[in-house]
């Protein structure tokens, strides 16, 4: 992990993390409703795990950013359904639906995009401030 040098590192890495979150939402939604013949094969929703990365001299600077440490599968079990005519049905006529909660994913999407926007806002504000500071005394 590289050190945190300036405000662009802070917000940039946060944006990257939120983008990973949006990607997992997209892949979860794409796989929602898919059917598998065994419990193990069934798709389980993926969730990124966020963790704070602190700057080296935290007591002095107080700055930190966020990184995705791992992408975990949800522990929720895939739903078992009785569909004997489905081509993927097992010997007893059961299929397993992907463990994805569409409502949860939609909420996640809205929250992630909102927080992405917040970080963009911070960066553009800081950029404008820096430009004004560079032109100081002119």
């Amino acid at each position: 992990m590289s050190e945190i040098k300036n405000i662009f590192d802070i917000s940039g890495r946060a944006m990257a993390s939120q983008l990973v979150r949006l990607n997992t939402v997209a892949s979860n939604l794409a796989n929602a409703g898919t059917i598998a013949s065994t419990k193990e094969e069934a798709f389980r929703a993926l969730k990124p795990v966020f963790q704070t990365t602190y700057a080296d001299q935290l007591k002095h600077s107080g700055v930190s950013t966020v990184d995705v440490v791992t992408i975990a599968e949800v522990t929720r079990a895939p739903e078992k359904a009785f569909m004997p005519h489905h081509p993927s049905a097992d010997a007893d006529g059961f299929v397993y639906r992907a463990a994805v909660d569409e409502n949860e994913e939609m909420v996640e999407m809205v929250e992630a995009s909102r927080q992405y926007q917040n970080n963009v806002e911070v960066i553009s504000t800081i950029r404008a401030l820096m430009m004004r500071t560079i032109n100081m005394g002119k």
Binding site: I10, T52, S61, T65, Q115, N119, T125
Partner: protein, 121 residues
């Protein structure tokens, strides 16, 4: 001039801290931090080169003290232990940015004044 320079530095540091809070808005167990500008600026102003009373004294510069980091008290605590409230952080950030620009304007006016004094126009 020194006061405004210190204020500008402190404001920019506070911007970084608030940006960190906003960056960690979705991290479980993150505790939002901040610094108290009023008390910090009082500590920072008046710190400068050490006065020397003898020619053989070495001129030294006293390093600025560490900023006192404080934790923010959440208004509506959330279940995941995160104390970042976006509305609060955005409000603090925009206030801090405005005050940074104010300090910048003061400095600009000061520099313009000095320049016209130098040119004697």
């Amino acid at each position: 001039m020194n006061f405004h320079a210190q204020a500008l530095e402190l404001r920019s540091r506070r911007n970084e801290i608030l940006a960190s809070n906003i960056a960690n808005a979705a991290t479980p167990n993150f505790k939002a931090r901040d610094l108290d500008f009023d008390s910090e600026i009082k500590r920072h102003v008046g710190i400068g080169p050490l006065q020397t009373t003898n020619d053989q004294h070495f001129p030294t510069m006293v390093a600025a003290p560490d900023n006192k980091m404080l934790f923010r008290e959440p208004i509506n605590p959330s279940l995941d232990g995160n104390t970042v409230e976006l509305s609060v952080e955005q409000m603090e950030f925009s206030e801090n940015v405005t005050r940074y620009q104010t300090t910048l304007t003061f400095l600009n006016n000061r520099i313009t004044g000095l320049m016209s004094a130098i040119k004697g126009e």
